[in-house]
Each structure stands twice: as structure tokens, then as C-alpha cells.
């Protein structure tokens, strides 16, 4: 039987020859099947293990990593980290407060045995079902199906011994007609088997309309955002507003605003890493146990998130909230990756649309980027399912628009939310696979700022 990640971490720790060491071992196994024009295009299987050795020396951290697991490679990697930490300390004492004390990972439901088997036949079946539904509607299907099993182990010189395995599944479907009209649907879950490809294909197909396209010029409009659009905005808000390091440095959108109203009274936003409705995680990359944390309650800003380093910079009674995204903390600071936005009383999106005389319905946002950090001012495009709302109902498809607006302003102008929520993700897996998602309702907000409309060419 092959060595487990925790056994590898303990072996590396024994070879590290340094006083303050954390070894993090991550084994990723994953499958990804892509498709376009109702045919498979690329299928990728990954099996990789990385070992990251963090050495702390006089308040400095140095990280070295390898994916070779023999003793010589682990010794050499530890030596590189030791040498780097000494070199860093030559410039003066650092501010890293030291490794975390041993924690117990809280239990959660983030692992599914069947998903972890990574059966490629399941991917094939998902694609076949999707293609069939698209064909029924006279459309072509595009998208991706993926599943992953990631096991993370931490062993440290302070006595931490953590071993966590999570799984995730994600599928997205774009249905498209010959003229280029398209609709989008996606789903993510701990268990790949919980994702229904046929339902996604039907949802995507339902957004492909042959009605004439309406156009809206620049201006401010009432908007209904589906959960996927809300999720993109919240994910960026997570970094702009709740990153403890930015907050401490005065760069954060909530610097000086904790305890004050920053959103409408209906807004309750939390990071809830243990909720079964999310993609649960028990510990962060510094070995600190995770727990639910209220970020905005009743529209009032309550907390930012910390890793060990940002908490030390904050001082006072600040403690890590378990949001380190890399061993020793990331240079970008901590981040909340299990955002949960509380639902409202609206039964569905139709109820959200009902009071709108003329407005925009958005399925999905694309290429959203920050314009001005402290204002949480973002710009991006709508995509694959944008509609004009007239007289309280979705009237006809709308040419995609560019928006430039503040997330906090939108949350302040939020008038209603659906009770039903969806776990949403972009399904992006750059570098080491780390699946994360936000649990979001659809919402209606006033004054969505459109700064440009698309044209055919």
C-alpha cells in the first residue's frame, strides 16, 4: 500500500532538520472533459502530489516545494527552504508570528467516495446526456464536466497532524444556436453524482431565444442577477473588502468601516466553510481550524478574515480566522472561499422581476475586473442569457452590456432576494486544484450602471 499524504508529510518533517517547520502535502487526482459543438474536444486526467516545506526563522518564512517524494528530494527541498529563510532573516527580523498550534479539523461532509473513484465513464455519460438534450432543442452544446479528489495533509514541528480529503464536481453547459445566441447553466457539488447534466442542458437551452434582440444604452437600470452573477461579484468583494491584510494596510474597502452599514438591511453575508451547502473545508493552509464567520450582518460590516500573518499585523485581539490560502500565508493575504449570502423571501426570479417596469435580467457575468479597489468598483460584461425586463416580466433577449459599478453599492441597493440559493462556481482550476464556490440567491437591485452595449461587429 502506498504512503498516505500524512505519512509523506511526517517523513518530510523528519528529514527537514530545522526547528520551525510545516510540511504540507497535497495530492490531486482529477478528471476534466471539455466539449464543443456537441462533440468531445479535450479530456484531461491529472495525478500529482506536491510537498511544500515551510521554514520559519526569526520571523521570516521561506517555502520550497517539490513533487518528488524520495528522501533525497525531500531533504534537498528542506535545505532550500532553510537557506532561503536564513537569507531572508539577514535583512532584519520579520513579522511572522510562528506556526499554528495543533488544531483539530472540524468534521464536515466534503468528501464523496463515489466521486473520488473518478470514473471516466461518468464524464462520457454526462456529455452524451447533454448532447441529446441540446439536439432536442436544435442547439449545439459546449462546456465542461470535471471531478476532483484532493487530499491535504499538514505535519508541523508544533505538533500539527491534519489530514483532510475533499471531492468536488462541476459542470457547465452553454447551448448555442446557429446565429450565435446562447444560454448558460452550471452546477457544482461535493458529489459529482449530484449534478444533473440533462437539467443543466435544459436550463441552458431555455435561455436561447430567437426573439429580436433589444438594446439598452448607457444608464442605470433595475437589475435581476441570477446566482451565478451574484457569485462572481461576491468573490471579488471577498478580496476587496474582507482581506485582513488589505484591511490592516488601509487598502481595504472596509478599512475604518467595520461596525457601520455598508449594504442594505437584507444583506447577511458569511464565510461558512463547514456548511454542507458549500464545498466544505475544515482547516486552512496554516493548519488553523475553520469556523463560520459573519462578514456582513443586517447590512452592517462585522468582520474581515485573517491568516496568522495579517492577524499579527492587526494586533490587539485579532486572531487567524482560518483563511490562509498558502502555507505561511499568501503575499496577497487571506481570502474567504466559502461565501454564503443569506436568502430572502422571493419565491423565484419571476417574483424579483415583477416590480420592474424596464430593467435587465443577467444570467452570468464575464471578465469582471477591479477598476478601483476601495470603492469595490468593478467592470465586466454580461454573457449567455441577458434579457430585457418590461412591465414585470422577461420580455425579450438583450444585447450583452458592459457594466461598471460598485459591489457594495449594489448590495446597498438590493431590494429583494430569492429564498432558494444555488452553490455557484466558475469552475476554474489554475495550478493546484482548489475547488471553491459561493452559496447565492438571485437578487434584485436598483441602479445597475451600464456603461456600454455590444454591437454585432
Amino acid at each position: 500500500m502506498s504512503e498516505t499524504p500524512l505519512q509523506t508529510a511526517e517523513r518530510a518533517l523528519g528529514l527537514a532538520d530545522a526547528a520551525d517547520v510545516q510540511v504540507t502535502v497535497v495530492r490531486e487526482r482529477s478528471l476534466m472533459s471539455r466539449f464543443a459543438r456537441s462533440a468531445p474536444t479535450q479530456a484531461t486526467a491529472v495525478d500529482d502530489t506536491s510537498v511544500e516545506i515551510l521554514v520559519v526563522h526569526e520571523g521570516h518564512t521561506a517555502l520550497a516545494s517539490t513533487n518528488r517524494l524520495d528522501d533525497d528530494a525531500l531533504r534537498a527541498t528542506a535545505q532550500r527552504a532553510r537557506a532561503a529563510a536564513r537569507a531572508a532573516a539577514a535583512g532584519g527580523a520579520g513579522t511572522y508570528p510562528g506556526l499554528a498550534e495543533p488544531a483539530t479539523a472540524p468534521a464536515h461532509d466534503g468528501f464523496d467516495e463515489e466521486t473520488a473513484r473518478l470514473d471516466p465513464a461518468r464524464a462520457g455519460d454526462a456529455l452524451r446526456a447533454t448532447f441529446a438534450i441540446a439536439a432536442e432543442h436544435g442547439l449545439e452544446a459546449f462546456g465542461a464536466w470535471t471531478a476532483g479528489a484532493v487530499r491535504t495533509a499538514i505535519a508541523s514541528s508544533t505538533g500539527s497532524r491534519l489530514d483532510e480529503e475533499v471531492t468536488d464536481g462541476f459542470m457547465k453547459v452553454v447551448c448555442r444556436d446557429a446565429s450565435g445566441r446562447s444560454g448558460y447553466a452550471s452546477d457544482t457539488a461535493t458529489a459529482a453524482g449530484a449534478i444533473d447534466p440533462s437539467m443543466l442542458a435544459r436550463r441552458a437551452a431555455s435561455k436561447v431565444s430567437t426573439e429580436p434582440l433589444a438594446e439598452l444604452g448607457p444608464g442605470c437600470y433595475p437589475v435581476v442577477l441570477e446566482p451565478e452573477a451574484v457569485g462572481v461579484l461576491l468573490e471579488l468583494l471577498g478580496d476587496l473588502a474582507f482581506n485582513g491584510m488589505s484591511h490592516v494596510e488601509g487598502r481595504g474597502a472596509l478599512s475604518g468601516r467595520l461596525g457601520t452599514p455598508v449594504a442594505g438591511p437584507a444583506i447577511d453575508l458569511a464565510d461558512d466553510p463547514l456548511s454542507a451547502g458549500t464545498l466544505p473545508r475544515g482547516v486552512d493552509f496554516e493548519g488553523v481550524a475553520k469556523a463560520p464567520l459573519r462578514l456582513i450582518a443586517g447590512g452592517v460590516a462585522r468582520h474581515v478574515v485573517h491568516d496568522l500573518g495579517s492577524a499579527a499585523l492587526a494586533g490587539g485581539d485579532a486572531r487567524s480566522t482560518g483563511h490562509a490560502i498558502a502555507p505561511g500565508g499568501s503575499p496577497y493575504g487571506p481570502s474567504p472561499w466559502n461565501l454564503v449570502l443569506g436568502g430572502g423571501a422571493a419565491a423565484d426570479v419571476a417574483e424579483l422581476c415583477a416590480p420592474i417596469e424596464r430593467g435587465i435580467y443577467v444570467t452570468r457575468l464575464w471578465y469582471v475586473n477591479t477598476v478601483r479597489e476601495k470603492e469595490t468598483l468593478l467592470t465586466g460584461m454580461t454573457r449567455e442569457g441577458t434579457f430585457l425586463i418590461e412591465d414585470g416580466t422577461i420580455a425579450r433577449p438583450l444585447r450583452d452590456v458592459r457594466f461598471t459599478d460598485s459591489v457594495l453599492r449594489l448590495l446597498e441597493a438590493t431590494e429583494a432576494l430569492t429564498s432558494e440559493r444555488r452553490l455557484v462556481s466558475e469552475g476554474e482550476f489554475y495550478g493546484r486544484r482548489f475547488a471553491h464556490a459561493s452559496l447565492c440567491p438571485a437578487l434584485r437591485a436598483d441602479g445597475f450602471r451600464v456603461t456600454g452595449a455590444t454591437t454585432s461587429s
Binding site: S30, S33, R34, A36, R37, A39, P40, T41, Q42, A43, T44, A45, V46, D48, T49, H60, T61, A62, L63, A64, S65, N67, R68, A81, A84, A87, A88, A90, G91, P120, A121, A123, G124, L127, F131, F142, G143, A144, T146, K172, V173, R176, S182, E249, R251, W366, Y367, V371, K374, T379, M381, D400, R402, T404, F429, Y430, R433, T451, G452, S457
Partner: protein, 478 residues
Amino acid sequence: MLDLLTEVLSRAPARCSYAEARHVATDEEELLVRNGRVDRVDRSSADGVGVRLRAGGGWGFAATREATLAGVERALARALAIAESQPAAPAGPLVPVAPAHGHWACHYERDPFDVALEDKLELLFAAERALRGDPRNVRSDAACASRRVRTAFASTDGAACTQERVECGAAISVIAVDGDELQVRSYPGAHGGSAACAGWEHVVGFDLAGNAPRVTAEAIELLSAPDCPPGRRTVILGGEQLALQIHESIGHALELDRMLLMEAAYAGTSWVKPGDLGALRYGSEHLNITADATLDGGLGTFGWDDEGVAAARTPLIEAGVLRAALSDRGCAAAIGLDRSGGCARADGFARQPIVRMTNVSIEAGAAGTLGDLIADTDDGLYLETNRSWSIDDRRLHFQFGTEVAREIRDGELGRLLRNGSYAGVTPRFWSGLDAVCSPSEWRLWGLGNCGKGEPGQVMRVSHGTAPARVADVQVGVA
């Protein structure tokens, strides 16, 4: 390693109509000095093998860190299993390729991995020290990164080649805050600076410490500068911003997989269609764009792409008219071309090759120096260093923000403006291009953060630019 790869491929079952194996060993080092202290020293090494094959019309790719005969055989079997689990699809052809043989290595003077860590940190400390001094400067960073990638590639088409690349990059940046106002200033470029396929000499050449006082002074000045007013103006784009403009509105738009809808569900499609090749007017007669994987120092420079196609120089747009697209073997065959554009690139061993930019550059013009171009402009804005970027999924409607905007009045630079931004529609924007600076101003900008593909791949590409002028641009949009 080549022998091992070739041996495994020779054992591929007959039902594999094509197979390739790629071993990639990557060493990276990232250093960051922040606010007077070493904030980050990361050193990583990874190696493994990716096997891609085609069976029954379907593609399968499997990656393993076990670079042994048994490990690669298992990867081949896994790739075959997932290829055969896909729904049946017709097998599109691949254009033929001359088998790649031999070794290629990029040119560099000083191996960055031979430079003592202490010396690198000393350079960063000196630069970061020169950034500090004003309490409104809440974050000052000096960073550098080095990378070595060794590749061995073999295919059932007879390829057996090896390559070695060394890359270096560096940057300094300042974030200044005063109340609710936050401004950023960077050098030599934003988002991690500018990298090149080069040695440590590339980092030394930036003179980070020498530029730091100007960078920090501009960040502070921006805090109280007036906002860039809205309107339609003539703009001159600095080289780094022009690089990103080309990247987003030309490079990605000319990826043939996007035109063929293969990326429709993620990266997007393109406003350009395959039938536009040879006829579409993309911009003014001043617009000459070339993809060149043979350029010395480019992040998109190599001996062979990741399908074993030899590096090439391809004019994409000549005098404003679209001539060619960026392609790999499959996409080229799909539109009836007889050869690949040599643009198949993969990010490490665990990702499969997809259509990517190489070094996509604007050819220099005859407008002289940047000073000459400004002197030739009666009324306009000079926009420098990217701060934000966004473009639609067809690469048609874009909006950019820059760190710096400066008024141009009667041929001279005037007031500094903050929150510079502009927006446009790709062919209309490029039709306004009326001048490009001369070769003396042309240089390569290395971007290390181009995302595409699923699972995600981060690619390194370069763009050669000289500052250029564009008329009638919507500015002050954010």
C-alpha cells in the same frame, strides 16, 4: 528521458492513431521584499510527464509525476481509457509536421539560479528602500522571479527533441492611500512587471532602484491629481499598455480555436471568422502585427511548440488587413491550411497543449521617438501602465484603466490625471491608429499571466511594441 518517452510510445496500442509524450521539469523562484522586510522566498521544483493521444476520434490526456517507464505507461493507459470513454466523434485530421529533432536552448548571459540569493535580495532591498518615505505609501514592493523549464518531447509522428528555457522578470510597485483615495504606480510594468526569456542581466537592466523615487513620487502625486475627464480624445498608449491592448483585442481574437468555437464555453469565441482571413480590414494601414516565436528574448520564443512544430514568424495583419491566425495542427487542418502556425503550448507537464500566442507584436512605424510623437500631437492624452482590463468573450468590446494619464497640449505633456480609462470596439479602435513610433522605441514586454484552458493554464507571452497614437477614443469611462 527521450528514450523513455519513445519507448512508451512504441508500446501504444494500434488503436491509437496518434500519441505524444512530454516530460517537463520546472524550477521556479519568487522573491518579494515588502515594506522593508523579506515577505516571500518561494522555490519550487516539479517534473512529470503528460501523455496525449487520440483513439477512435477522441482525445485523451493523462499527467503523472512518476517519470518512470511504469509511471508513463500507466499514464498512457489512463489517457487511452478516458479517450475511449468519450462519446464517439469524427476524427478530424492533423496537418503534417516535419519530425522535430535536436536540442534548442534560449540565449542568456547569467543563469539566475547561479546568482546568490543574498545578492538578489540586496538588489530588491535597495529598490524597495528607495520607494519608501511618505506615510501615505502603505505598501511598497520589490519582486523578482526566475524560471527554468526543461522539456523533452516525443511523438508517434517521429518527433524526439529537447528544449531549455530560462526566464527572468522583476518589478517595483507602490500603493498610496489618502482617505478613500487609493492609487497604484508600478515599474517597468504592472501585474508583476516585465519578464523575458533571458538571464539575470534582464533584471539588472531595469535599474529598479534608480526608477523607484520617480515611481513613488508619481503615486503620491496621483492621490490629489484631477480625474481623467470623459470625452473623445486622441490617445498615445505607452508600450506596456499597448502590449496589453494587442494581447486582448488582437492576439486572443486571432486564436483559431476561438474562431472555430472550440473555446466558446470558457475563453470565448472571436468576432473574427476563419473566412475573414486574407480579406478583413482589422485597422488602419499603420497596423502591422506579427507572431514570431523566433524572437530573441521573448516569453513566446521556442525551438518547437508543444506539438513539435518548428518556431515560425508569421505576419498576422499587414497594412491593416488580416492575413493569418494563430493555430495548432488540428485547427489548421480544420480550415484547410497545409501547415500549423506553431502555436500549440502547454503550461507544465500536467496540462495539454492548446492554441496560444507566441510573441505577437506590432511592427515599429516611422513616428520617431515618444517625444517626437507627443510633439506631433496638438491635443490628447498619454496613457501609461495598465491598471485594469476587461473585454467581452468575442474580443470586440474592451475597457482599460491605466495607472497614469497625462494631458497633451500643443505637443507637450501637461497635467497628471488619475483614474485614466478608455473603451472601444476593436476594429473601430484600430482604424484610428495613425502613428507608431520608430524601431528605436520598440521593445518586448513579457506578460506572465495569460489564462486560458480547462483545467486552467497560465501562459507566458511577449508583445513587442513602440508607443502608438490612436484618434477619437472614448476616455474617462470609469
